[in-house]
Amino acid sequence: MNGFLQGVVDALALGSLYAIFALGIALIFSVLKMINFAHSELVTIGAFVLILLADVPLIIRILILVVVVVGAAVLMERVAFRPVRGAGQTTMLITSFAVSYLLQNAAILIFGPDLRSGSVWSVLNESFMLGPVRILNLNALTIVLTLVLLVALTLFLRKTSIGLQMRAAAEDFTTARLVGVKANRIIAVAFGISGLLAAIASFLLTAQTGVVTNTIGVQVVLMAFVATILGGMGSLSGAVIGAFVLGAVSVILQQLLPLELRPFRDAFLFAAVFVVLVVRPGGLIVTRASRARV
């Protein structure tokens, strides 16, 4: 029983982390219909900020983190994605892949290929007991932050003018433009928010690993892709659900798979995604915008 509860907490924490990543990707996809591979590099940038500035007081470090990563996200949109916006989905996809590759290697160029380590906030690596379950502070923070983010994002999308415009754009950009939604502004704001999400993600991820490499973001972002696909491209709630499903399945596989099969966990996961895409080509939640029209 305790093992089970422990598993639930682990699954929630992992799912929460995936969800923060997946939200950033799904948000961009919903307005731009582009999979942003370079989301992982936003996380990498954040991780470098945290580790390189390890001596700076935490609050200031977080402030710098947010400013840098949000700035990088907005800049990325302006420099790389805006010029190819009209050129079709494939071109945008390749562009984001190229930006990701470029930044990954720019990190090597600037910081060298070696791994760097440092502590983000040592308190996070301690844990507390909740009844019979031991909870890592970091995991608790991840879960709480995700909940807060979900509520904040929902309020933003439902209550603010720009949030409503963003939802309209996600539904049908052409029509939204006709009623006065400014594309450039909406997309810039979406990238800003995805940058904020990436900043938070990088904080949590770096606190967990304590090291930064030029590919620190890649693996989790791959998982986040899977979560977004699983949930249904472009649907934010779908992305969150997908992330938690994925977190749960990962934890379950980790527990249940025989030892010799554990290294194949990711292969199983991705195979499972493949199966989901076959059974439900549009993902778990099919949005109106993703339906094909003749």
Binding site: A80, L93, I94, A98, N105, L109, A267, P281
Partner: protein, 392 residues
């Protein structure tokens, strides 16, 4: 005469491309030392892989990150089929008996490896056909990760992260060159066939394609399997070139490099695949030399790791922003396009007012299209003079 006419109309593209590849390969091969020669052979193998990617992405318009999974499968399968039995027993003790007992000569080994890749693609093509293009593109990413994970962990077959070694090295320059020329010819015939036309129609407009009876999912599936076969072939040649294999050779970095080659040349033409490979390979070589550190007279540039990749990334972004359909803009080089380009060079500014009487759809189309719109649409020009500004 009739033979010549046929060549000019229908077969000039693969002949020009084959000559170009042979020329570049032989010149580069004779100009450099042993290490450069090895790079040249590697580049030829890369070209086969780029053509393999083109065969799916270029013809169907469906994006895929996963074609290198089939290169990996082809490489590992070829390695397993061609490493001598005794060596396998000694080096890969965990390998199952029946697998260790297989031993094939070079060419059958490579073909068998490519066949394994094609069979896996065939099985995957059924679920793929059900997906929307974007989902399918991401599903291929899932395939890539799954194959990478399996290759890195399935010790019994792939020797896990330690990788395969002691693979016979038969991929020499002539072998690679003959292989790439055969692939160019085969792909040309494929894309000009009725089947190839139907596949290209699904790329142009899937709805219209369905309206005229084309089974979009099926045609995409065929292109997927054909692509996997060529990828498998490239993988087999790669295994027999390197002598060793590790899963990292078929993951995201290599995927990026090969896709960059295809996109820079132009996603939608065979010419683009060939020219993109040549250009990016040359560019990469230059960057690698700079990365290692160079002295230009008094100016000393220190070596910087990562420079090559950053340079290629920037090059790709620039091409995407300025000319997203690549240098060739999806057109094929042909005899007529070259002739026209030659005339243009000799008589600058006076556009040829006498279209030839030839009836080759591809080349004359390129010609006519170029005359009506901006001059840069023409293939040969696109390739040789990419910097010319568009006409008003």
């Amino acid at each position: 005469m009739r033979v010549l006419g046929f060549v000019r109309r229908s077969a000039s593209t693969p002949i020009i491309l084959a000559l170009l590849v042979a020329l570049v390969t032989i010149v580069a091969n004779s100009a450099g030392d042993a290490s450069l020669r090895r790079i040249v052979v590697g580049a030829v193998v890369n070209m086969i892989a780029v053509i393999g990617i083109y065969l799916f992405i270029g013809l169907t318009g469906v994006f895929s990150f996963g074609q290198l999974a089939f290169m990996a499968i082809g490489a590992y399968a070829t390695a397993i089929f061609t490493v001598p039995v005794a060596t396998k027993r000694a080096l890969f003790s965990a390998m199952p008996e029946w697998l260790a007992d297989i031993n094939l000569p070079f060419i059958p080994g490579i073909l068998a490896g490519a066949l394994v890749a094609a069979v896996v693609a065939f099985l995957l093509s059924f679920p793929m056909a059900r997906m929307q293009p974007l989902s399918a593109g991401l599903a291929t990413l899932a395939i890539l990760v799954a194959v990478y994970t399996v290759a890195g962990n399935w010790t019994a077959v792939t020797n896990g992260s330690k990788g395969m070694s002691a693979i016979p090295t038969n991929t020499t320059m002539p072998v690679a060159l003959i292989a790439v020329i055969l692939v160019i010819i085969a792909v040309w015939i494929f894309q000009q066939s009725g089947l190839g036309l139907r596949i290209r129609a699904t790329r142009e407009d899937a709805v219209a394609a369905r309206a005229i009876g084309i089974k979009v999912g099926r045609e995409r599936g065929i292109a997927f399997v054909a692509s996997a076969f060529v990828m498998g072939l490239a993988g087999g040649l790669y295994a027999q070139l390197q002598g060793t294999l590790s899963p990292d050779a078929f993951f995201l970095n290599q995927t990026f490099l090969l896709i960059a080659m295809l996109v820079v040349g132009g996603l939608n033409s065979l010419t683009g695949a060939v020219i993109g490979t040549i250009l990016i390979t040359a560019f990469r070589r230059v960057l690698q030399v700079i990365e290692a550190g160079v002295d230009i007279g008094p100016l000393e540039i220190p070596g910087r790791p990562g420079l090559t990749e950053v340079g290629i990334g920037i090059a790709l972004l620039v091409v995407l922003a300025l000319r997203s359909s690549g240098l060739t803009r999806g057109t094929e080089v042909s005899w007529d396009s070259l002739v026209r380009f030659g005339k243009r060079l000799t008589r600058r500014g006076t556009p040829s007012a006498a279209p030839t009487a030839a009836a080759d759809p591809e080349s004359v189309a390129g010609l006519a299209a170029a005359e009506r719109t901006t001059p840069e649409t023409a293939t040969a020009e696109a390739v040789i003079e990419p910097e010319r500004t568009p006409g008003a």
